[in-house]
């Protein structure tokens, strides 16, 4: 187990899972914790990386009053063992052979399964055009910001568009509001190109993106969604 700090509230855990059968970008695992008295709590966490032998990376946001995430983010030590179930998910998945163009919309830690898709595209050296819309509260809350900056440099066919909903750094040229239909119309591929669309994040974010896409004429069959509730995690 290795750890990578992504933001002040978010940490990635690199896990070695014996007999891991591999997975598809977009899938998740269930992590189960058992207390000394037998009480169990289970949460789902998206896998952030494409298949890589027995190694998977999950990225976890610390939920202040959560039963599972504070332990995983703050207390889990290298060498500790975890109980995992997975991989899980056959709907919110994409692999390079599925083709594109690809529109990815991420609210907060909803970027995690989409990052697995992006990393799979890079790993396959595919030239599938990608637009990624990332919504976060502040610049410091953007997960994988360094990697997204490299990916979105204009050389790789990946365009990264950001909206910061709460506070913006001086000179910010991106969006500064919650996602709405006008924003989706501006940043998504036109419906006529039959793009594959994936939206993941808090339920309100996902509903806003999905309804905007349908309103813009996208085929609902090409819109895949994953909602994680009011605050996530």
């Amino acid at each position: 187990m290795d750890r990578v700090d992504e933001t002040a509230q978010v940490r990635s855990l690199v896990l070695d899972v014996p007999e891991w059968a591999g997975h598809l970008p977009g899938q998740h695992v269930d992590v189960r914790l058992t207390a000394d008295d037998g009480y169990q709590a289970e949460r789902s966490y998206s896998i952030a990386t494409p298949a890589d032998g027995n190694r998977i990376t999950i990225t976890i946001e610390r939920i202040a009053d959560g039963e599972v995430s504070p332990y995983l983010v703050d207390e889990l030590q290298v060498g500790d063992k975890l109980e995992l179930r997975g991989p899980i998910g056959g709907y919110f998945v994409w692999q390079p052979s599925d083709g594109g163009p690809l529109f990815l919309a991420a609210g907060g830690s909803g970027v995690v399964p989409l990052m697995a898709m992006l990393r799979a595209r890079v790993g396959a050296r595919a030239d599938i055009p990608v637009k990624l819309l990332v919504s976060a509260r502040t610049a410091d809350d953007v997960i994988y910001s360094g990697e997204l900056g490299v990916l979105g440099d204009g050389q790789s066919g990946v365009e990264v568009i950001q909206t910061l909903t709460r506070a913006q750094p001086p000179g910010w040229s991106g969006y500064r509001r919650r996602v709405d239909r006008e924003m989706v119309a501006d940043v998504a591929w036109p419906a006529a190109g039959m793009p594959r669309c994936y939206a993941c994040g808090p339920t309100g974010f996902v509903e806003a993106v999905a309804s905007a896409l349908v309103g813009l004429g996208h085929d609902p069959k090409n819109i895949r969604t994953e909602r994680f509730g009011p605050t996530g995690g």
Binding site: S44, I88, G89, Y91, F92, T203, T225, E226, F228
Partner: protein, 87 residues
């Protein structure tokens, strides 16, 4: 029912795998109330109680309730008329 307090059927993937022995988030189901067909992943899931209440996103009728019991998860079928795994 159109608030943000629900998640969706993706979250039930692990539990349903325990019950059905296979991936079920891409299974199709028919709402017996409004007759709309949905993929399991698109269903609304309310997790605030002891079990997960699964509702139709078209008409909000309760389709399933999934309850963890000491013996394992149990699925109560309400208005889900049929469920078919993806081929």
């Amino acid at each position: 029912m159109t608030n943000d307090n629900h998640v969706d059927g993706n979250a039930l993937g692990g539990l349903l795998m325990d019950v059905f022995g296979r991936e079920m988030t891409d299974a199709n189901g028919l709402c017996g109330s409004c007759g709309t067909e949905h993929v399991m992943a698109e269903l609304m899931v309310y997790r605030s109680g002891p079990g997960d209440v699964v509702r139709c996103p078209s008409c909000t009728t309760v389709l399933l309730v999934v309850t963890p019991l000491p013996s394992g998860p149990r699925v109560y079928f309400s208005s889900l008329q049929w469920l078919a795994p993806s081929s």
